[in-house]
Symmetry: C2
Subunit: 459 residues, 2 copies
Amino acid sequence: MRKALITFYVTAISWVLMGQDHTDSIMLRKIHDEILTHESCYENLRYLCKQIGHRIAGSESAERAIEWGKDALIKAGADTVFLIPVEVPHWVRGTTEKLYYRTSDVTKELATTALGGSVGTHGVLSAKVIEVKSIDELKTLGKERVEGRIVFFNKAMDATLMNTGAAYGGAWSIRGNGPAEAARYGAVGCVIRSLSTADDNFPHTGATNYNDSLPKIPAAALSVVGARELSMALKTDPDLVLQLELSCQLFPRITQANVVGEIRGRTNEFITVGGHLDSWDIGEGAHDDGTGIVQSIEVIRALKSLNYTPQCNIRAVLFINEEFGNDGGETYAEVCKRQGLYHRAAIESDGGGFTPNGFNCDVPDSLYPAFSSWLPLLEPYNLLRFRRGGSGVDIRPLKNNDIALFGLMVDGNRYFDFHHSKNDIFENVNRRELNLGAAAMTSLIYLIDAKMQAGDIKN
Amino acid sequence: MRKALITFYVTAISWVLMGQDHTDSIMLRKIHDEILTHESCYENLRYLCKQIGHRIAGSESAERAIEWGKDALIKAGADTVFLIPVEVPHWVRGTTEKLYYRTSDVTKELATTALGGSVGTHGVLSAKVIEVKSIDELKTLGKERVEGRIVFFNKAMDATLMNTGAAYGGAWSIRGNGPAEAARYGAVGCVIRSLSTADDNFPHTGATNYNDSLPKIPAAALSVVGARELSMALKTDPDLVLQLELSCQLFPRITQANVVGEIRGRTNEFITVGGHLDSWDIGEGAHDDGTGIVQSIEVIRALKSLNYTPQCNIRAVLFINEEFGNDGGETYAEVCKRQGLYHRAAIESDGGGFTPNGFNCDVPDSLYPAFSSWLPLLEPYNLLRFRRGGSGVDIRPLKNNDIALFGLMVDGNRYFDFHHSKNDIFENVNRRELNLGAAAMTSLIYLIDAKMQAGDIKN
């Protein structure tokens, strides 16, 4: 009798669990069908890239992107759309970016782009060059060899690392700290080989951080091809002169906004999905991070279109200024804290609109097994892993002891070919890959929301 | 004492196995480092695409590709390079490919390309159109509705399938058999919506098969955009006239060749790696299958460069005419059989030069567990699966009870955007993705060869 009773309970529980899994499995299929057969995500990206274009925080085009984002979230069916004011920096590249090298024989131009936040040159800066591979090498050379020169950091990203993000991380300090360190040893300017995986003539920009106790020197990037050319020219003529002219300058901070679109849930809990609306001011900010923006909007559209009424309030947040200080992310977290909003989870897409293969996650230890147990539901969509560590810059300030933070994990092999360059354009985004990313995000949000009902996540 | 002895043996065996795994792990790292930091694979592809271009079997450019392939294998360090004569078809597209639709109001041109093997129109073929979605629908309509018309198959590939290869397979019969079936019901011509995942104006070609007992009617593909336009025009004017002009024709078969480059091993056994050297005669045959060709050559270069002396003879085979009858693959298998060569394995890359994620495999049941046990060595390179079923068209004729056949498994989301179209060009291949594929193939070949020494595979 007892055995029969146990069998009954085990069977009953299995049926309930299988029933839930079956419901979830059907919903994930519906989400993918909905997104893979609709043009909205791709057409939103086309508009953002082609009609608005690049949109650095503080710019007029960022204003237009904010207006567009509001409209797009309304069209996607959000129950509420509103703005959260954010104070952002206002750095302007200006119209002049010129770099020449002059040997005894020739004067040749190299493609260049100022690093984000660089001071201008106020006329032409001319100086001899010292080429180094690292900040450590700069220290070894010391003031004697560096003073009065333009430091040329010529270091490739490590092509042998499987994770291009790790290769970018390994080279990042050259762009982030190289110019400030060069100034420490008396350099008058700094140029770097672009942080790029492509062998082409597009220079890649990105933020550099000055040290307030040191002089601020102009800083720019060369393309990979240009860096090779300059390095070869220096071997022939170590005394060649570099002439740099940049008209960029920093203006006082101004107020822009995060855009929020919300589907109202049945509870007071929240799930946020987002990307950053700002981009660097060259190219079209397609993969960085137009794709994260349109995918977040697509999450709202798909859930509404499937008539899904969530437990949690689901918010798509288009963050402003990830690139140059993360003001949007910081402000959003502050506002949520002030308002006492309880966040169950947040998900970001900021690795480009490439084929998704899982999720990076930064979740409390106690929740990790629950998330991993969902993999059988996700595997049919080639979402194979919850990889611990990392989520996204914009959502990271939300971190506390309860929240589960996720970053969409994608095939990053092409990302740093385009990232922060004129080549980060709509044409380099594949429609299907973009849609698969939106479907992966929507699937994860659905599971977090629905599994809560099934008691899978406990606080 | 006995327990101590067992412990000793277990420990000893573990040490030997761990030692072998450690050696393998180091070799896989070396293979990846070698290939990811060399330009040879990408530069070979550039030459093949840009200096030779498309190279349909039977053409003069296929002759040049064969000569180039020999040289490239010699440069890669093959111990022996030789040709195997292969008889191939000789179909020539000619210079005229025109398609117009004429309503009472307008005459408009649509981009078109003849299907491979199509007969020409011998002047302009003008007829009314019947639009269908499938061969079944054609049967339902019958002779009465079809006779004297041009049949327009307007069927999209299924975007909801995760595997684009399966979606292609699902639509394939329309291109492969649609024109012959249309002829069965008295159609005078046939146009199809391209088998494509892109929403653009590039028509995609590919072989069509006539039925010898039925009339051979001219057959061509429209782009996805063009098919949509024609379908809309037909809704307004069902009596519009399509005008098709194709100058293609079939000439007598001629003799070309497979190119073989070999590294001599210590035994009489063989491993073949390959792709197909021929392509369709539009675009540059970059992903289909220039990438498989240069990856196969890179396998030879990398193993030689790492001074690896294999147990098996390792052959890179550049097969001729996969696209229109698989003559290269059939001939190679016949020659190997005639010469009594024992093949341990064969590996093909013919899914495009995209990020690899494992291997399709068609292997004897007894061997499958051995291959799967290698996954821990391959996982660091994101090679996560041996998926049963399928390998490659060129190597399939080698199939017997012993041989293990593999196909490089890649992210196929972009493949059918380019496949058989003018857009299959060098610029749409990513250097890093291409190199990762070459490294994956070299790694698998090394494991098959080295694990034989360790006794992992038994005949």
